[in-house]
């Protein structure tokens, strides 16, 4: 019997891939599948589930629940759309915040550049919850911000910023900035400075150069960063909870409620499915628009 080299390679390949296949298959795909199943199950009376097909969870959110079994409440869709808005707003704000800094750092002379790069990535490693908590300390009525403003006589009465949407947005942007910065910076670094010179040489104004040369060339970084920021922003519940209290409700908070308090797991699962669907939609758009992979192939056919 002839054992070919290909057969040997196949064996090794299976050996390498089995762990991840098993692990992700069971513990990643499994949960996603069962969550999908749960979203279509009937919630039991005291928590738990009844294993019957039940599309009314989605009906409550999307509108076809007519009151017989479940009642349609537009508030869910409102919250969902509001979360979408907030997530997109976060993307835009963090983009606008990071873009000039990326340019600034990429123009710095060598040692300063490494130093500031180091500085900007460092806070990322400090615990998220800690950094959020710090904003509570800053934004609350007796907090640092109000103290400073009052000290300089700019206001008489403390500003009620905490527990508003403004606070939540500030927190979200703050948390997402490191994620937005790195892809943008990578794009900006790759920018060939001589292209800008050429553009000027050919008579373009600064604005035109920006719109026609810089923006298109840094687009991959912009899109990449936007995706990386959008996805965690949409389903976030920590930031709204810490900085928004009970007053700012995002879809993530809704989900958490359903699971930990209302004990309506199917409904929570349905909400989570909506989040996931939105994310997958954006990813598909990204893939079709941007992804053109060059496979630098150093591999062997098995």
């Amino acid at each position: 019997m002839e054992r070919s080299l290909a057969g040997r390679r196949r064996l090794i390949l299976y050996g390498l891939l089995t762990p991840v296949t098993l692990f992700l298959g069971v513990f990643f795909l499994g949960p996603l599948i069962i969550m999908g199943i749960f979203s279509l199950l009937e919630p039991g009376l005291y928590g738990g589930v009844v294993w019957t097909f039940y599309h009314w969870n989605f009906g409550r959110i999307l509108g076809w629940a007519d009151g017989l079994i479940e009642e349609y409440d537009p508030v869910y869709m409102e919250i969902f759309l509001r979360s979408l808005e907030l997530a997109l707003l976060t993307v835009v704000l963090s983009l606008v915040a990071c873009y000039p800094v990326a340019f600034w750092i990429s123009r710095l002379p060598g040692r300063w550049k490494s130093f500031f790069l180091f500085l900007i990535t460092l806070p990322f490693f400090a615990s998220l919850i800690v950094r959020l908590y710090a904003w509570v300390m800053i934004l609350k009525p007796s907090g640092a911000l109000n103290q400073v403003l009052q000290f300089f006589g700019l206001i008489d009465v403390p500003l009620e910023i905490i527990f508003t949407e403004k606070a939540v947005i500030t927190g979200m942007v703050y948390v997402m900035v490191p994620f937005m910065f790195l892809p943008i910076y990578a794009s900006v670094e790759k920018l060939d400075k001589s292209l800008l010179e050429a553009s000027h040489d050919l008579g373009a104004t600064r604005t035109q150069t920006f719109l026609r040369v810089i923006l298109p060339l840094t687009l991959p970084g912009i899109v990449g960063g936007s995706i990386i920021v959008f996805i965690p922003s949409l389903g976030n519940f920590i930031v709204p909870e810490v900085l928004g209290g009970a007053k700012v409700m995002m879809v993530g908070n809704l989900v958490e409620q359903q699971f930990l308090y209302a004990r309506n797991w199917p409904f929570g699962a349905a909400l989570a499915m909506m989040i996931m669907a939105t994310v997958l939609l954006f990813m598909m758009v990204y893939v079709t628009l941007v992804l053109r992979r060059d496979d630098d192939d150093k591999s062997v056919t098995v």
Binding site: F118, F124, W135, I138, I238, M276, V279, D297
Partner: protein, 299 residues
């Protein structure tokens, strides 16, 4: 910080070519100012915490009333009477430092185990996808990519439903499993990047000289991959230590991790010790991060 603007501006004006050179100095100065403000924005919260962790005011921790180490001592287990300090029983609620230490222990156990497992899985998968061409390869790429684009909350509740339905008992084990599902992907990305730049002829040379696949892996591939593997492992460790959302859903009653502990403290009501804990945590993270970035620089 404006002092730094001058040496830079005078050092090599010719460096700011093209786009900004036309704007001249003012454009550069505006940009620098923005950069500085940006960094202040980034670091302000951390500075606030660190500063106020030394605030002696036990009641309203935002009003400065003196410098003290009391909060640190308190969380480290020293009784406040011992030092005759500002701390009163009202202000102290980490009366069992054991809670805090248990949380830290749990976090470390989870993080170390997760790092080990996910590094192995991620590395093995990276090698498989980089060195072998097979029909299912694009699917595996997508599979490895998916955990990173899934929102935490979706993964968290998915795992919760899965564990409960399958009869798992929620505890450190489930937390570890949960972390590994997405951290393997992070390691994969880092190792794969390193692998792509590796010279394949080295592995061929090793085989040519008589080494089978296992020996080649040990003697040639892994030593070359080491910086990537270490980088991936460090990343996995940090993310695991800091994970809140997924852990929140799948931790059992007795398996609190540090981020969960702080989160619950926040919900119960903010007390001065929080600042001290937070500062220590920040310091710890910064040390780990610095080590990591330093190691990166050396290669």
């Amino acid at each position: 910080m404006t002092a730094t603007a001058s040496p830079m501006a005078s050092a090599a004006p010719a460096r700011r070519i093209g786009f900004l050179a036309k704007k001249g100095r003012w454009g550069w100065r505006a940009l620098t100012l923005y950069g500085v403000v940006f960094f202040l924005f980034i670091y302000a919260p951390l500075i606030v915490i660190i500063v106020y962790s030394f605030n002696a005011n036990p009641v309203n921790m935002m009003i400065w009333s003196g410098f003290t180490f009391d909060w640190y001592l308190s969380i480290l287990g020293f009784s406040s009477d011992y030092f005759g300090s500002y701390a009163t029983t009202d202000a102290v609620y980490v009366d069992s430092t054991e809670e805090l230490i248990a949380a830290v222990e749990n976090s470390l156990i989870v993080a170390l185990t997760t790092t080990t497992v996910s590094t192995c899985i991620g590395t093995a998968t990276a090698i498989a996808l980089a060195r072998y061409r097979f029909r299912a390869r694009p699917f595996y790429r997508i599979l490895m990519f998916m955990p990173m684009i899934m929102p935490d909350i979706v993964l968290g509740i998915g795992l919760l439903i899965f564990f409960v339905t399958a009869g798992f008992k929620l505890g450190l084990g489930t937390i570890i499993i949960g972390h590994c599902t997405f951290l393997g992907s992070y390691v994969f990305i880092v190792v794969q990047a390193r692998l792509a730049g590796m010279d394949r002829s080295l592995e061929e040379a090793s085989a040519d000289l008589g080494a089978n696949e296992w020996v080649t892996l040990r003697k040639i591939v892994l030593p070359q991959l080491a910086p990537g593997i270490v980088g991936g492992a460090l990343l996995a460790f940090i993310i695991s230590m800091d994970d809140l959302v997924i852990t929140y859903f799948i931790a059992g009653v007795n398996s609190t991790t540090l981020p969960l502990f702080i989160f619950s403290m926040l919900r119960r009501g903010v007390k001065p010790e929080i600042n001290a804990i937070a500062t220590l945590l920040v310091l710890f993270s910064l040390v780990v991060a610095s080590i990591g970035l330093y190691l990166r620089r050396r290669r």
